[in-house]
Each structure stands twice: as C-alpha cells, then as structure tokens.
Symmetry: C2
Subunit: 241 residues, 2 copies
C-alpha cells in the first residue's frame, strides 16, 4: 500500500454530535510554541483535517480521520462541499502554521461531516473537545465558515432525507426525536402535533421495549427502519418551490 499523501489536497471532517442539551461539534486543539513552551503563538481550535492519501479514496481518508478521533467504526458520512485554492489563508497565524508544518499554501480541501449521538464517541486525548454549536471558540483558518456551511447543509438535508436518525442511537424515544429536530434546526415544536406526525410514519417502528431509569415514567422506544423508508417511494410528489 502506498502511504504517500497528496500535498495539495486535504480532507476535512466536521464531527457533529447531538447531546441532550443541543448540537455539538468536535474540534481539535491547535497550538504552536515558538519561543517558550508556555507561551504558544498559536492557541486555538480547528476542525480535523489531513492530507488525502494518494492510494485511498477520499471517503477512506475521511473515515480514517473520523475513526482515529472517535473510535467509532460506523460512518454516517456526508460530503458537502469542496473548497478550492486561495482565500482560506488570510491571517499570519494560519500562514505560520502551514509553513511550520511543511504544507503547501495553495491547496484544496474536500469537506465532510459526520453525524452521531455525542456520547457514542470515545475521546482518548484532550487534544479534542466538544463545543456547543452555539458557543464556538476561536477558530483557525476559515473554519468558522466551514462549520456554518456544514450546519446549513445538514439542516437542508434533514428536510429531505432521514439524516436525523443518524443523530440518535438505534433505539430512541419520540421525545428524543423531537429534541433532535429542535436542536439541529434550532426551532421549537409542539409535542402533541409532533407525535401525531411521527406515529404516522411507518418507518418509525415501535419496539416492545421501554427506556427506564430516568426516575420518571418509562418511555416507549422506537427504531428507524431504512428498509421500510426506502420502499416508501412517494415522497417526490410534493413541490415546495
């Protein structure tokens, strides 16, 4: 196998995680110490990226990055955009970083996002940290914009594809599903109406199981059936233009 990398193409992964209190992004610490160890010149956060491997597909490169960070081997991966050339290196900090890492200034990045419940990822180093999408830290490069683009993309996809279920564990309650929509779309929904709607979807199948242990009334669990979903071909008919 060829482990060389392309020097002008990188793959970036935005890792979204849904917690019970909202939507999170997993970021990587970026530090550069030049003169003294305790006085970093650069000290901020970035989305995780890597140069693409010559002999891997882009998807494989993205999966590799994702897996090395989260220890997960299920990939809810969506490629949403490719950013080209120039325009992303605007600050001295970013230039310094790029040069100190032997990277080319001119480069291109294929951006993916991954979607899952926040708690299913296992972080092993404190180099990575979850941040609420509502209070992002100081970010390198144009990564703030990229995260924003990814968020906008997932909002649109949710309207049209069953991405929401990737944010949830295999078994989930209807309230968890509602909260997922509310967190990702940043809206509020009426609980009664939401349930009525959800219960009509035949691909949200009720399980003979409840979720206990919240010190409350136990709640019914449901699972998403992709098979059933795929068979429900209608969908198309409605034009919202």
């Amino acid at each position: 196998m060829d482990f060389r990398k392309l020097d002008n193409v990188s793959v970036n992964c935005i890792i979204f995680g849904l917690g019970s209190d909202g939507l999170y992004v997993l970021l990587q610490k970026r530090t550069l110490n030049m003169f003294r160890d305790d006085f970093p010149i650069i000290d901020d956060w970035i989305i995780t990226g890597e140069r693409a491997f010559i002999s891997k597909t882009l998807e494989e490169s993205a999966n590799t990055i994702f897996k090395s960070i989260t220890n997960l081997s299920e990939f809810n991966r969506i490629q949403f955009r490719t950013y080209g050339n120039s325009s992303s290196l605007k600050t001295d900090k970013d230039l310094l970083w790029v040069k100190s890492h032997g990277l080319k200034v001119q480069s291109m990045t294929i951006a993916y996002y991954f979607v899952q419940p926040k708690k299913s990822a296992t972080l092993t180093t404190d180099q990575f940290k979850w941040f609420s999408i509502k209070s992002l830290p100081d970010l390198g490069f144009d990564h703030y914009d990229i995260i924003n683009d990814a968020h906008e993309d997932v909002k649109k996809k949710i309207m049209v594809e069953p991405v929401i279920f990737d944010f949830l564990p295999y078994k989930f309650t209807l309230n968890e599903l509602q909260i997922a929509f509310e967190a990702v779309l940043n809206i509020e929904l009426d609980n009664r109406n939401f349930r009525k709607k959800a219960l009509k979807k035949i691909y949200i199948v009720p399980l003979n199981e409840t979720k206990k242990g919240n010190a409350k009334k136990p709640s019914k669990l449901y699972a998403f059936s992709r098979d059933v979903y795929d068979k429900v071909t209608e969908k198309e008919s409605m034009i919202n233009f």
Copy 2:
C-alpha cells in the same frame, strides 16, 4: 497571472438545458484517431472538463469552461460533488485517452452543474451537442453516473431552493414553469392545481405583458423575484422527515 494547471485535479461541468420537449445535457465529442483518420479508436461523448488552474478558484475554472462552450456569461452554477482518486478509469479506452493526453491516472474531479434554458446557449462548433437526458449516447469514463448524480442532486435542490427559475428565461408563463417542473422531475402535474399554487407565491410576480406569436391565445408573463423570495423566510417550518 499563473496559467499553470494542477495535474491531479480537474473540474467537470455538466451543462443542463431545458428545452420545450424536456431536459437536455450538453456533451463534448471525444475522438482519438490512432492509425487512420477515418477509423477512430475512441469515438464517444464526455462531459466537459479541464484541469484546474493553479491560481484560479475552482469556481473560476468552472466558469471559464462553461463560458467557452456556451458563450454565456451568466452563471447558474452549483457544485454538487467531488469524486476522488481511483475507480473512474476502468476501461482500456479511458486509460488510452488519459495517457495520450499526458494526464495523471490518479486524479480527482470537482463536479459542477450549470442550469439554463437550452436555447440561450450558442454553440459554435459541432464538437458539442445537446442530448436528451432520456437518451444519452455512449459516454466515456464514469460520466453516465456523474450525470445521473447531478440529475438527482438538482431534483432534490428544486424541492428546497428556487433553482427551477434558472431553467427558464427571465420572463416566463405559468405553463412553462409547470413544464419545467415536469421535465426536470419527470412527473406530471395537474394544470389547475399547479396554477393555484403558483399564483399564491408572491415572488412569482405577474408582468403587464403577454407572450404572443404561438398562433394561439396569448399567455401572461411572470418573473421570479429573488429579492422577494429571500425575504420570505418562513419555509423552514415544515419538516418532511
């Protein structure tokens, strides 16, 4: 300006055009004569592509390709996917082509599509030709799949963004709008219900003008107002999961 090109990155443009009789794609003839001029070894069609310029953004590269073919300088450009490495060179023909053009075998392509009324493009050479999406010719590389991906993408975008209007001239009739939906989505719509729905959209503004000359009853013209559209923020509220 730096006119060098990246040898491992290309930009591909799928050019969609809407005719009165359906959706078309503009393709480029690919021929390679090896031994005799009248017996080409390769003789098929491809979507138009080019290696990306080092000093241009990807969007500029795409625009350049588009303009050189269609003579249009309005760009309804949508980047929909990036295809990476391997997997696209499966046939001897494609390998032969790549080698005879001094290209690298390992490469990556950023794919865009452009959307407009078919008749607004002016073709100057017979190297380019429109093909109905329903009867595509023999295509090189994996371009059949790429066209398909683009078509699927535009179908989804149409549901959620006002892309349909890019297929039409500035002034259009409601029946043209209906036919546009029918052609792109490959569905049939009820004329009365469609009009009722369209007339409710305040961003479809009636003009004090009619379209004559079909030897029929003249029809009222409308225009799409992007300003008004952008101000109508609701949209979000409806979840179709």
